[in-house]
Symmetry: C2
Subunit: 202 residues, 2 copies
């Protein structure tokens, strides 16, 4: 299931380049997995291709969207409009992935009330009302580490069901709330490790 997003992205790119049909071999090469893996992965969720031909690109994308729960764009709340928050606001890939940042919030008076990249920024006090008005389940946390936990608690209390946390602190949330950690440090450390391993081989 962790690979479904990568399949979807590759299919999207194929669609953009005018491709209508693709075989498991071609798509698998694109995302660097084996063809069997790809077929097995898909078979968990149903049957998608036609034997002897391959997969209809457009059809498979929309079937994946169904599985991933992004047939309709899902609204997302952005919490913290600092450097990282700004970067997230301006990223089209988030839109292309089936999501839309529909509201932002921040504590800084210089941000509150402004409309940034088409998105209104609210104060923390206003946020519960916003969450009540639009049904938002997902929040992206781009706030400093020292306020991350209390902010998370506040959001959960006001109806947020899933958090994507960009601060390097491991948050505590009660189960029933989804927490996903994004940490650039981890990525770099992984890279450093494999780089050394490669060099030792030669």
């Amino acid at each position: 299931m962790n690979r479904l997003p990568t399949y979807r992205r590759a299919l999207e790119n194929l669609l953009a380049s005018g491709r209508a049909v693709v075989s498991s071999h071609e798509l698998a090469a694109e995302v660097e997995v084996t063809p069997s893996q790809l077929r097995k992965d898909l078979s968990c969720f149903g049957t998608f291709g036609t034997a002897g031909v391959g997969y209809d690109v457009r059809d498979l994308v929309s079937r994946l969207d169904e599985i991933l729960g992004i047939c309709k764009k899902r609204p997302v709340l952005l919490v913290g409009v600092g450097n990282l928050g700004l970067a997230l606001l301006n990223r089209r890939p988030i839109q292309r992935s089936g999501f839309e940042i529909v509201a932002a919030c921040d504590t800084s008076p210089s941000k509150v009330g402004r409309v940034i990249a088409g998105v209104r920024c609210y104060s923390l006090e206003e946020t519960p009302a916003v969450l009540a008005a639009i049904k938002i389940s997902i929040a992206m946390l781009a706030v400093p580490p020292d306020t991350a936990q209390e902010t998370a608690d506040f959001l959960v209390k006001n109806g947020i069901r899933a958090l994507v946390n960009f601060s390097p602190l491991r948050l505590r949330v009660d189960k029933g709330v989804l927490l996903e950690q994004v940490d650039f440090g981890y990525t770099l450390q992984k890279v450093a490790y494999y780089l050394d391993a490669m060099e030792e081989q030669q």
Copy 2:
């Protein structure tokens, strides 16, 4: 091995809160793995703890640093000083993880020549000389998707051995070059999927 960075982060936080010794049970709870898992993971790389007591926090951090190849801070090149690039420049977690952005580059004349968050921004033409002067192996690619591939090729030609790519495009690099993909869209899609799965359960 993918879990080592999370162990290190947890140990760092323990150290900050004045903890000197920790058992596999406590540390495992912190990062949400089983104690056996943690011990087995560590045992791949040697023997670290003392039976009956636990692990010396400070010692284990530095042993992990050794394994991960970050005893000394590793220099990193930032490519693209847009919103995301700025966010990365201003993140302490990258420093805390054992890395340091020592140079940046960009095509925009408004960026080139400036010093941003203590880091000088070079033009693409100047970059090979910079890479030759300081030995940098790792680059973070925060450029628009349409120039990502050619920029990557250029960097590899000039000595970069590992790329962390933030654009949603899957880059082609010859083997021998390490490529790590960071995609916020994937994270959100994963969250959306598990959120739906949770709701169906109840």
